[in-house]
């Protein structure tokens, strides 16, 4: 059972990576959104430092949202998704493999890039590590939640904007905990609690949300 999923994972990653501009677009989007904050707020380092955790997290959430828009769309259009649903592997695991491939190729670059952007906004030392760590734990949850929205809005009028309306409210806990962890670190307070809770969210989301994604896909394919 693992083998087909492994193949699917490789296929999805290579599909995303060969169309290099997709990865570049998302990364560029992430960077540009963060660049907008200093431009809008002003270059004072103190001010920027206070908004840094929130700015990076909001940018990551938006980048995840726009990149997930097309998670299932191409496979759905050419009928691959239907074949995947008919395959003997549970659809939930198939969906999980797809989300994993998506996160590895489009979510992980953001995590890796985040310390540099955090540094640009004035975060230092341990705060950068906490920022990257919180994104590492949080962005997979965002991807899983977003995948539910992507599956629900397949083939629906105004899919992208609708998906934002459906999914952004559900992003709130992750956003609060993720930015909260960095804020705690900035005040030299213990940040482990926030990270633990983020880990707990991931632990809950990992088994449950693939089921929801599979349910949403079945509704769409029906």
């Amino acid at each position: 059972m693992v083998r087909p999923l492994w193949t699917l994972l490789q296929r999805d990653i290579s599909l995303i990576v060969t169309r290099r501009q997709d990865v570049l677009t998302v990364v560029a989007f992430f960077v540009i959104v963060i660049t907008l904050f200093p431009l809008a707020i002003g270059p004072e380092p103190e001010k920027l430092r206070t908004i840094a955790p929130g700015a990076v997290w909001v940018a990551a959430a938006l980048a995840s949202l726009i990149s997930l828009d097309r998670l299932f769309a191409d496979d759905w259009r050419d009928g691959t998704l239907e074949q995947l649903a008919l395959a003997p592997q549970p659809l939930a695991l198939t969906a999980l493999a797809k989300v994993l491939a998506h996160w590895l190729s489009l979510g992980l670059p953001l995590v890796i890039l985040s310390p540099a952007l955090g540094y640009a906004l004035g975060l230092q030392g341990i705060e950068l590590a906490v920022l990257a760590g919180s994104l590492l734990l949080g962005t997979p949850v965002l991807s899983l939640l977003g995948a539910v929205g992507a599956a629900m809005t397949l083939g629906v009028r105004g899919g992208g904007a609708l998906m934002a309306l459906l999914i952004l409210p559900l992003y709130v806990p992750v956003l609060i905990l993720g930015a909260g962890a960095v804020n705690e670190a900035m005040f030299a307070a213990p940040y482990q609690a926030h990270l633990s809770l983020l880990g707990a969210l991931l632990a809950v989301a990992l088994p449950l949300l693939p089921l929801a994604i599979a349910g949403a896909l079945r509704i769409t394919l029906d």
Binding site: V148, M152, T153, V156, R157, G158, L162, L165, L166, L168, P169, L170, V172, P173, I176, L177, G180, L197, L201, A212, G215, A216, I219, T220, D222
Partner: protein
């Protein structure tokens, strides 16, 4: 269907539901009005002014019931969504869809009255406080449900996707609440559901309970009415719906329509469940 012996399953047939609602709603309107008048009288003329907030607190008699109704209706919406997803009972989707606008309205009203209450007591219309923020997110969840339901061309499909969303949202509501709670808190503490009894005067409590009853009954009446309209529009081509719209639905027509649920569906509906 094994559940045939349970009488309430009878009302999963839109025709039976329609008749039931038709009988209930005329009683609910005056009951809601009566409770509201009594509650408002108690609230404005009997209940004493608050020793800190003076008369400003009296908006509580609208604010608290709407806030509770908003949350309750969301849970109810998710419950009907779950029923629809599991048993494919069309009436459950109709009910869920009928609940959503009232739920959104209640949530909006609780935010609005909260803002009006906040102005004299906190000195601001809006703060990014935990309960305000989570109520705002609840409003977004309602709007998302309605948008997703309306976005699909296929009502059945849209209903199922929206039901799934409602369930995920309901699981998320406590998580959102606690995460936001943790994040910042200014809102006053719990004062009705406390283990040492409510911390308010008896007449205030009576007024509040009357207003809560009024909102419950009002919500019931308006939701049933909306569900009736939705049931009619979904079954517009059937015999019972046309008779009901003309105001003369007979018992025979109703029973024939109810049997049709188990046997042949009307041609308008595709019963495809694969």
């Amino acid at each position: 269907m094994t559940g045939r012996s349970i009488p309430w399953l009878k009302f999963t047939a839109p025709a039976n539901f329609y008749t039931l609602a038709q009988r209930l709603v005329p009683w609910l309107w005056p009951a809601a009005a009566l409770c509201a008048v009594a509650g408002l009288y108690m609230g404005f003329f009997v209940a004493p002014p608050d020793h800190q907030q003076g008369d400003a607190y009296r908006i509580l008699f609208i604010h608290v019931p709407t806030a509770w109704m908003g949350m309750l209706l969301y849970l109810l919406l998710a419950a009907y969504g779950a029923i629809f997803l599991v048993w494919r009972i069309k009436m459950a989707d109709i009910m869920a869809r009928a609940i959503a606008p009232t739920g959104a309205l209640m949530t909006f009203l609780s935010l609005w009255t909260g803002a009006l209450w906040g102005a004299p007591t906190w000195g601001t219309f809006w703060v990014w406080d935990a309960r305000l923020t989570s109520t705002l997110i609840l409003l977004f969840l309602f709007l998302g449900y309605m948008a997703l339901h309306a976005a699909s061309d296929d009502r059945e499909k849209g209903g199922r996707a929206a039901s799934l969303l409602a369930i995920i949202g309901a699981v998320n509501v406590p998580i959102i609440y606690f995460s936001v709670e943790w994040w910042y808190n200014l809102h006053q503490g719990v004062s009705v559901m406390r283990s040492d009894g409510p911390s308010m005067a008896d007449s205030m409590l009576a007024a509040l309970l009357l207003m809560i009853a009024a909102f419950w009954i009002y919500a019931g009446a308006i939701v049933l009415r909306r569900a009736q309209a939705e049931a009619l529009s979904r079954e517009a081509r059937t015999e019972w719906a046309q008779a009901a719209a003309a105001g003369r639905l007979t018992r025979e027509q109703r029973e024939r329509a109810a049997v049709g649920i188990e046997g042949n569906r009307p041609p308008l509906e595709s019963g495809g469940q694969t």
